[in-house]
Symmetry: C2
Subunit: 418 residues, 2 copies
Amino acid sequence: MLLKDKIIKMLKDVKEASLKLGNISTKDKDKAILAMASALLKNTKYILSENAKDVALSNKTGLSKALVDRLTLTEKRIKEMADSLKQVASLKDPVGRILRQWKRPNGLIIKKVSVPIGVIGIIYESRPNVTSDCAGLCLKSGNACVLRGGSESINSNLAIHKVVTKCLGKLGIPESAVAMINVTDRLAVEILLKQTNLIDVVIPRGGEGLIRYVAENSLIPVIKHYKGVCHLYVDKDADLEMALDIMLNAKVQRPGVCNAIEKMLVHKDIARNFLPQAARVLDDKGVELRGCSETLKILRGIKEAKELDWYEEYLDLILTIKVVKGVDGAISHINKYGSRHSDAIVTKNKLTAERFLKEVDSACVYHNASTRFTDGYQFGMGAEIGISTDKIHARGPMALEELCTYKYIVLGSGQTRS
Amino acid sequence: MLLKDKIIKMLKDVKEASLKLGNISTKDKDKAILAMASALLKNTKYILSENAKDVALSNKTGLSKALVDRLTLTEKRIKEMADSLKQVASLKDPVGRILRQWKRPNGLIIKKVSVPIGVIGIIYESRPNVTSDCAGLCLKSGNACVLRGGSESINSNLAIHKVVTKCLGKLGIPESAVAMINVTDRLAVEILLKQTNLIDVVIPRGGEGLIRYVAENSLIPVIKHYKGVCHLYVDKDADLEMALDIMLNAKVQRPGVCNAIEKMLVHKDIARNFLPQAARVLDDKGVELRGCSETLKILRGIKEAKELDWYEEYLDLILTIKVVKGVDGAISHINKYGSRHSDAIVTKNKLTAERFLKEVDSACVYHNASTRFTDGYQFGMGAEIGISTDKIHARGPMALEELCTYKYIVLGSGQTRS
């Protein structure tokens, strides 16, 4: 059979399964998710041995150390995957909520009700934990999913997939509800991205290159979880101690994630006082600094920032600094160079804060807090499938509620339109 | 200047304008929209004379009668356009609503607030009223828009655009907030659909061909307002009088719209009784019937339905009928052939109705009411920009609320992540 026919055949089963998922009770979904968690723990040895194959191959093919690290599973990481599933099982079912209900003058009752989206395509790289995370989140939200991991982690992903899908059948949930493309040929992704009748939304998770590729090649709606070029703006009215704290936390607590800051904007009136203090603590943590020409006058010897620096997501211990004339300059800089992810202001001035919070066009805007709260369930919404940098459907942390859509149920007694 | 450079320059102004729109008060937005309504009435003669050019040219180029009719403006139609703007001005401002607010254990206050999407691209055909409708809806929801109408109505659209944008500057709203592409070259659309940094979402309005073209060529997220292959299912437990009423209303009250029914599914147990009555009243209204083989046994002499009939949106006085074994058959037929728009069941059996309402995967599902309520403000949500057949962001009637997205505003007192 041709690859295309194979994939379409598989996707038809996934769609079929998705239509059945709406009728599975919360209790059975949770049971299945908990069974998946236990199965991961019980099959730790098997998963680790399959993962070792991927790691060995990746070391041979010269994959970067950072990528091999992301790919490598340990007993601890598998336990975390199981814990993550347990957490999903404990969350409220997002399906079937009545979002709004009203009655029309002609007696029609209209209910806006949350329902699963349908079939979700997940295209991801490296981290094998995405396999079980997505399986759990999609199942809980009543969606079927088709997973396509990176070729570098194919053995790990197939092993995890095998282990988790075995739990479904016993609970009357079709195994096709969690499907996986088991070929590493990129052609498979190309085919997948054209199946508008069989997949409802595609979520790419990975580096900029993967996300761009998916966005440019998909005929199916895509929700992008793009780069995080996050800013901290230290205003002239800032509590400078607080600013130093937040700066350090947002830059170094975990520099490789999308909501770490990459740029710092500093009000000109406090730059001479604040920047040397900032440079000292950042230097202690091994952060490389780059700066605009004004910054260079204060912090001599650091690298001059190039135009491209302002757009770049380093995901590393680098921070680029710009001196701005005030909150207006900060807002327009962020709206021009930022990635609409997470941006923060430190100031004691309420009016300045309000302008920043209103006018910065980003998913999450912070006043006197670190940008690092935009993931890891820090909003209290439970496990996320990603952090959306798109503006439609989901913005910022995308959790169970955002994996749903809605439908209108209209109840009548024979009403017709005149 | 090259067309591409021209368009990008224009879109940069539109984006700039969109960032300012968030700060215009509801009062000023409403004033501007009311001024647009007055200006349309005051300039009726001018608009009609420009429209006459389009009509004359379309008659020459042999555009179909239906299309020329959609294109033709009259004093009455211009008054309706003005009335529609007045209605938009009277609606509640959808921007700045606090959708949810909560406090985290660490003291962070998180507010989920509705905000404009940003820049909306509207690509449409024929009807010049779309120009003023979209200008009003986008302005009210704080969005800038870039409009691209069909070449057949270019003079009408430019005239309406000129009249409405003149009202903006006086109220401190940048004229670029409502922009129009004034060249008819299709290349302009191609260029537009690649500007991911300058346009946030594209809404195509028109025939299947236009929508398919936009969806296939856009790198920007698209919300599709696709065809309506709507069904009426008459169950064995239906009140047959009610079924006849609803059938007639949904088919003939306005056959050319997306929420008119195109197919009727009838339970086998009542087919022999119901179908002849149905055929009689439909025949009276000049409706052509087509049917499955079972239908043909009862209604002799009508055309046999081909496989393609089940997918087709006729937008005309044609109804294709299928006899089904029960609600399961109806549900699976609709989920296979329908367009996820609006589908209705007539039954007195509550359990049967519940299954239909839950399992039919459409934006709007009706029990004992006509599908014709899915547009024309019948849900009470005010003027719609269209009826979305997509599943993400907006589903069904897309009005002011759906022209907004949200952002998270996080208020802290120095919180960092441990």
